[in-house]
């Protein structure tokens, strides 16, 4: 626990601090890019990109091991990863556009085949007896333990650069992700913006390899945006919230993983992101489960109050427990169920409301059908005054013919 707090305060060693900050930037960039990708409904493309880095990574390792005698040179590995990930991305695109196969099949085929070929190359590496091969396994699931200072700095700087790039490009990305046709009308080159988005997705994936691992990096581009969706319905806000949630997951996850043994970085980051997702799902005021439940409860109380008052007005007995409770709490009835003075006034008002609303339903059936729940509100607050006045004028005649004195 203490080491975790120390890591959070950036005082658990230089490398840990640099990696944590770098993971924070990485998470911000991944969250923001992921939000755009989610709006484009292409979330799982990043899964293909992540897995497709493996053959490039392994091939770069083999080449560098043969040439330099050491395969663990980070920039070289990342360059190899980027090349094969770009090939994978191209393959997904090509299959989707040039064959009858859909994107889901293309993504699945590319991720599994590239990964399989990468495994083949990994076993080739195992049979080489040079090149310090122990380092390569860390890229599968992410490992920041024992990272070199130069590696940590490279990752932090690159992650910052990508986060900056996303920030600069946020406007065209938002336009294209939200409404490609409108973006085209506004003069944004949709195709080029899409390519840029994919390039940044690729950069995030490649930079994140060492930290989150190629199997799990996809989570960092999916979970924060999905969590952000619970907080807002507006695209620019969603991107921002996703970036914040992503940064928090990256930073906290990396710090936590550095604080104890046997806490693999990639897995801990993903679980941190998932924890934020669960919090968003439960407590977000916009569409969280708790807020939704409260809203439903409020609505049900309103219905019970209205029906209870109508029963009071008609002098019918009330049996429903919830209705009685709601009426009692509002002071409409006494504990023994007899209407109070205020209750009788409210009942009369409710009956008038109901009569107006039912008249409105008869006169304007189509407008009334749009949102039935509105009818729980006082009619004067919902409809324009002229309409209410017109209904009011028609009311006595109608109620008289219905035989109901108001």
């Amino acid at each position: 626990m203490e080491t975790f707090l120390a890591a959070l305060m950036l005082s658990a060693g230089y490398n840990t601090a640099v990696v944590s900050i770098g993971a924070g930037f990485l998470g911000a960039a991944a969250g923001a890019v992921g939000a755009f990708v989610l709006l484009r409904k292409r979330s799982l493309v990043s899964d293909a990109v992540g897995h497709a880095t493996l053959p490039g990574l392994a091939a770069a390792f083999i080449v560098m091991a043969l040439v330099f005698g050491d395969g663990r040179i980070l920039p070289g590995l990342l360059a190899g990863a980027a090349i094969s990930a770009a090939l994978g991305l191209f393959a997904v695109d090509w299959i989707t556009h040039n064959t009858r196969l859909h994107e889901d099949a293309a993504i699945g085929a590319v991720l599994s085949v590239f990964f399989g070929f990468g495994i083949v190359l990994l076993t080739v590496i195992q049979s080489l007896d040079t090149g310090r091969q122990a380092g390569i396994a860390g890229y599968l699931l992410g490992s920041t333990a024992g990272m070199l200072r130069s590696e940590a700095e490279t990752i932090a700087v690159a992650a910052f650069a990508v986060a900056l790039a996303v920030f600069i490009l946020r406007r065209p990305f938002t336009l294209v992700a939200f409404d490609p046709e409108y973006a085209a009308v506004r003069g944004v080159n949709v195709r080029r913006t899409d390519l840029l988005l994919m390039a940044i997705l690729l950069a995030v994936t490649v930079i994140g390899l060492k930290v989150a691992g190629l199997v799990l990096i996809v989570a960092l581009t999916i979970i924060p945006p999905v969590a952000a969706r619970f907080w807002t319905d507006r695209a620019p806000h969603m991107v921002m919230i996703a970036a914040v949630l992503g940064a928090a997951s990256g930073f906290v996850g990396t710090s936590l993983s550095a604080s104890a043994a046997n806490l693999p970085t990639g897995a801990v980051i993903v679980l941190a992101a998932f924890a934020l997702f669960v919090v968003s799902l439960l407590v977000s005021p916009v569409r969280g489960v708790v807020a939704g439940g409260l809203e439903r409860m409020r609505l049900s109380r309103k219905v019970h109050e209205r029906q209870g008052l109508l029963s009071l007005a008609r002098g019918e007995p009330i049996y429903d427990g919830l209705t009685l409770r709601v009426l009692r709490r509002a002071g409409h009835i006494r504990a023994d169920g007899v209407a109070t003075l205020q209750g009788r006034a409210a009942a009369a008002a409710a009956q008038r409301e109901e009569a107006l609303w039912s008249l409105y339903r008869r006169e304007h059936p189509q407008s009334a059908a749009v949102s039935p729940a509105l009818e729980l509100n006082p009619i004067a607050e919902v409809l324009p005054p002229e309409t209410v006045a017109a209904l009011d004028r028609a009311l006595p005649r109608v109620t008289a013919t219905a035989g109901q004195p108001s």
Binding site: R42, S43, G116, S127, L141, A219, I223, F230, F274
Partner: protein, 309 residues
């Protein structure tokens, strides 16, 4: 030579081939229903299921593992559906949230618990170990009829054989409902073919195939088996039955060619080591798909006319 082949190669060859076929069969419907990534999700969540089963029972007994993995797959499907509905997002993103989280939980459980004594590690889960399925009791071809020697066969072989038969049986028994719900879910509903139930059963079938194949070839290569042979077959024909036949052919070819290339390919190139058979099987299935993408007679489809029965 023949004794060596029997001891070292026959079982992996058969297991690889059966794993490919068992996965490719339900994979046909996944590809047609645009649910290929269910295979992706399910094969990732197999890992936490297996680890949880190990932590609960303390053994690596096959039954416990199978139950754990199948339970994890069902839990994942329920959670994905929940996230999709509550979050009102596309299924792909909902899947991404759940399967990465469950996989991460599996990785964390492995690292946190003491599994060093047993054969349970993340690398093995990712790409399996087909080569370890050796049959030492085999001495010559006569061993194939020798009950004592047969009893020593790796249990994965019998398990996969049973699962493959189960996949064939599922496809035959549920054929009409599968076809109806795949091509016209609305019509299927109206004639009482219960597309929702069939969709769920298909996921269960996928989970069973994934679990059985996982042990031999690892979780990610299972995805290749689900998708590549059926996808390639889809580019060869417009009709469903021939598509399934093609996919079984492609699957068997991937399994055999992949294993042979992995075992002997490096030797032919003058190297002294072999490479991962599971990885090579995935690679071969990918190459077959690539060829089908480039020259398959029905690679572009004909607009409105999809596959017919």
């Amino acid at each position: 030579m023949s004794a060596e082949f029997l001891q070292l190669s026959l079982v992996p060859l058969l297991v690889g081939m059966l794993a490919c076929i068992a996965c490719a069969l339900p994979g046909n419907f996944l590809v047609l229903r645009r649910q290929s990534l269910i295979g992706d999700a399910v094969s990732h969540v197999v890992l936490p299921g297996i680890v949880a089963a190990f932590l609960v029972t303390g053994t690596v007994a096959a039954t416990a593992m199978l139950v754990g993995a199948a339970a994890a797959a069902v839990v994942a499907v329920v959670l994905i559906e929940f996230v999709r509905r509550v979050g009102r997002i596309e299924p792909g993103a909902a899947m991404g949230v759940i399967f990465t989280t469950m996989f991460a939980a599996g990785v964390l459980m492995i690292e946190q618990s003491d599994t060093s004594g047993v054969h349970l590690d993340v690398e093995h889960a990712l790409y399996g170990n087909l080569e370890s399925l050796v049959w030492f009791a085999a001495e010559d071809w006569g061993s194939l009829t020798d009950p004592v020697a047969l009893a020593d066969l790796p249990p994965q072989l019998a398990r996969l054989a049973v699962v493959t038969v189960a996949m064939v049986a599922f496809t035959i028994v549920a054929w009409k409902e599968l076809v109806l719900s795949t091509f016209d879910a609305g019509f299927a509903e109206s004639v009482g073919a219960r597309p929702t139930l069939i969709g769920f059963l298909l996921v269960v079938a996928v989970a069973v195939a994934a679990v059985a194949a996982f042990d031999a070839v690892g979780s990610i290569i299972v995805i290749a088996m689900f998708i590549c042979p059926p996808a390639a077959a889809r580019l060869m024909t417009d009709r469903l039955l021939p598509q399934i036949a093609w996919s079984i052919g492609f699957a068997a070819l991937s399994g055999i060619a992949g294993y042979v290339l992995a075992g002997y390919g490096p030797l032919w190139l003058g190297f002294d080591a072999s490479v991962s058979a599971a990885g090579m099987i995935a690679t071969v299935s990918g190459l077959l798909l690539a060829v089908a993408c480039l020259v398959g007679p029905h690679r572009r489809g004909s607009g409105r006319s999809g596959a017919t029965v």
